[in-house]
Symmetry: C2
């Protein structure tokens, strides 16, 4: 299982309708095949500039790759993400197993 | 529930005994009162410089604060983390609930 997450801040003011609308559109990514355990998150640490996050799980790299190239994901990135996100950091992880 | 996580890379070479020893010491943080659902993670995204992560959950901010100030955590940060970690990013999150 791969956990894919991204933490970000928006160009929209906090509490604005633009912010709410962005998060609602982002939540639609959960409908793309292969996406499991999808969550919209509020980032709370003062030690980074991010305000929100998205997290989701994929069974394997093939499912992750299929999500990345799915037309709905590509359209979201091109038409919404790139215009409305000011700054972001992707973090992906799997369990660590000691050698 | 607050999810506290930190992603990092070490001064130790990949696969070294120093790396293994660091991660074993980090795993001992799970014994501090209030820490729930503790995981050592392997960070897999090529879009950041981090190689590992730690994640844990706290019931509330008071439990998180108690962890931060616990002598075992303070000693780990001072004696191990600051010497062996090259670069890191903390990420904390709670569920987002639309207004």
């Amino acid at each position: 299982m791969i956990v894919h997450s991204v933490f970000f801040r928006l160009n929209h003011p906090a509490g604005s309708t633009g912010e709410t609308a962005f998060l609602a559109k982002a939540a639609q990514l959960s409908n793309i095949p292969g996406v499991q355990n999808f969550h919209v998150l509020r980032e709370t640490s003062p030690k980074n500039p991010y305000a929100f996050g998205l997290s989701m799980e994929f069974t394997d790299q093939a499912a992750y790759d299929a999500y990345n190239t799915h037309p709905d994901h590509v359209a979201f990135v091109q038409n919404i993400w790139l215009k409305e996100v000011a700054e972001f950091q992707e973090i992906d992880h799997v369990p660590y197993r000691a050698a």
